[in-house]
């Protein structure tokens, strides 16, 4: 009895599989010894290992709203700790050498031009989170002789190119908010090596640094770390979100909704810097 049609197809199918499997198996066997299966697939599709591009958050004018009444000591400290941790900001006790990206201060120091002695009691007590205002017209950018600090054209964040900073501190003199710190000493001596963030650099002695609105997280599709932390804590406490982040050019954004409905302040508006950090009181 000859091979019937059904049997022939079976044999043909199996041998076709075998012929196809051999080169595939050899690809897996060759050079791939130390790869896990998922890594092998990435490799076959010519993707670098461990590469997962996130969808970047984009805007044309990033802004932050600080809901002052929702910020308490705990939230303020948590924000600072989280920010300083992921950006490898050294913890230096000497106030002359201290480096800070975000910090809390009291009303009279934050709103120097709107301060008077009979201010509301709770305003006197509340911690006011301060950070770089990412001004629309940043004076620090205007004075930088090397263009190390510049405003990103795409989203308005005032960032620093540490490779270019020569440490002249013009920007520190220009910034009316004290948002910039100078590295008088080598910051690495004050960073715990075990706890540093290996995905972000440190700075070196002799450069100025400041908040960057977490540009590196935005590129991964995450909002700034302080906002993440503050919102988490606010939710736990059942309060309104203490910090809100969004696009000021988008009329439907969270920040625009807040600014439309609540009374807000900006720091030293008469100087014409046009801060992008707003305070709701």
């Amino acid at each position: 009895m000859g091979v019937d049609r059904r049997k022939f197809l079976k044999i043909a199918g199996i041998s076709a599989l075998g012929v196809a499997a051999k080169p595939a198996a050899s690809v897996f066997a060759k050079d791939m010894g130390s790869f896990t299966p998922s890594e092998t697939i990435l490799h076959l599709f010519d993707k670098p290992l461990g590469f997962a591009p996130g969808q970047a958050l984009t805007a044309t004018r990033w802004a932050m709203v600080v809901n002052v009444k929702a910020v308490d000591e705990e939230i303020a400290n948590a924000c600072q700790a989280a920010c300083h941790k992921i950006h490898n900001v050294p913890d230096i006790e000497n106030p002359k050498h201290e480096i800070k990206w975000i910090w809390s201060d009291n009303y009279e120091n934050v709103f120097t031009d709107q301060e008077h002695e009979l201010i509301m009691d709770d305003l006197k007590e509340l911690p006011f989170l301060s950070l770089c205002n990412h001004c629309y017209d940043p004076p620090c950018v205007r004075v930088c002789p090397t263009k190390a600090t510049f405003k990103r054209e795409t989203d308005g964040i005032v960032v620093m190119d540490m490779h270019r900073c020569i440490g002249c501190r013009f920007c520190m003199a220009a910034c009316p908010y004290g948002s910039r710190s100078f590295n008088w000493v080598d910051p690495r001596e004050y960073i715990n090596e075990e706890e540093q963030n290996m995905d972000y650099p440190t700075r070196m002695k002799g450069v100025v640094e400041k908040c960057n609105f977490c540009a590196e997280l935005l590129a991964e599709g995450r909002i700034p770390r302080c906002v993440e932390v503050a919102q988490e804590l606010s939710r736990e406490k059942g309060k309104e979100p203490a910090l809100v982040f969004g696009d000021l050019d988008d009329p439907d954004s969270e920040v625009r909704k807040l600014l439309r409905s609540r009374y807000s302040l900006r720091r030293k508006p008469t100087l014409g810097t046009n801060p992008n950090v707003y305070y709701i009181v």
Binding site: D31, S34, F35, E39, D46, K47, P48, L49, G50, F51, P53, A56, N88, F150, R152, T154, D155, V159, D161, M162, H163, Q196, M198, D199, Y200, P201, T202, R203, M204, A215, A219
Partner: protein
């Protein structure tokens, strides 16, 4: 020539002194570079990186910092995140600075200031 003997002796001594680095190292063993290439990734971002890595790194840094473009597509269409710490020095590639960067840089006495700020991957401390 006046004082010919002295002049010529002086010249000879001078030439010998000037050539000091040459004959001092004569017969010394040539230093061998012990560069360890990654075991996992077989292809670097671009070809011919030995003479050109500084141009690539320079381009990457300007692209990321100044134009906020963090992804690089090489000749073969492969996409990389432009990051010294996260891509070049990743686990799968040059995970040990002392076995890669330092080999040539030390040999040629080049001291790039990358590592003043960028954090090299942690290496297990081995006792030799």
């Amino acid at each position: 020539m006046y004082d010919g003997g002295k002049v010529i002796t002086g010249l000879i001594i001078g030439v010998i002194l000037l050539a000091l680095p040459l004959w001092w190292n004569l017969g010394a063993e040539e230093k061998k570079l012990d560069i360890k290439l990654p075991k996992k990734e077989k292809k670097c971002v671009e070809a011919n990186m030995r003479p050109n890595h500084m141009q690539v790194l320079d381009l990457w840094r300007d692209s990321v910092v100044r134009t906020a473009n963090r992804y690089y597509i090489n000749e073969n269409g492969r996409k990389f995140e432009m990051s010294l710490q996260k891509t070049c020095m990743s686990e799968n590639c040059h995970a040990r600075k002392t076995e890669f960067c330092d080999q040539c840089h030390d040999y040629t006495a080049v001291e790039p200031y990358c590592w003043d700020c960028h954090i090299p991957p942690k290496e297990p401390k081995e006792t030799m």
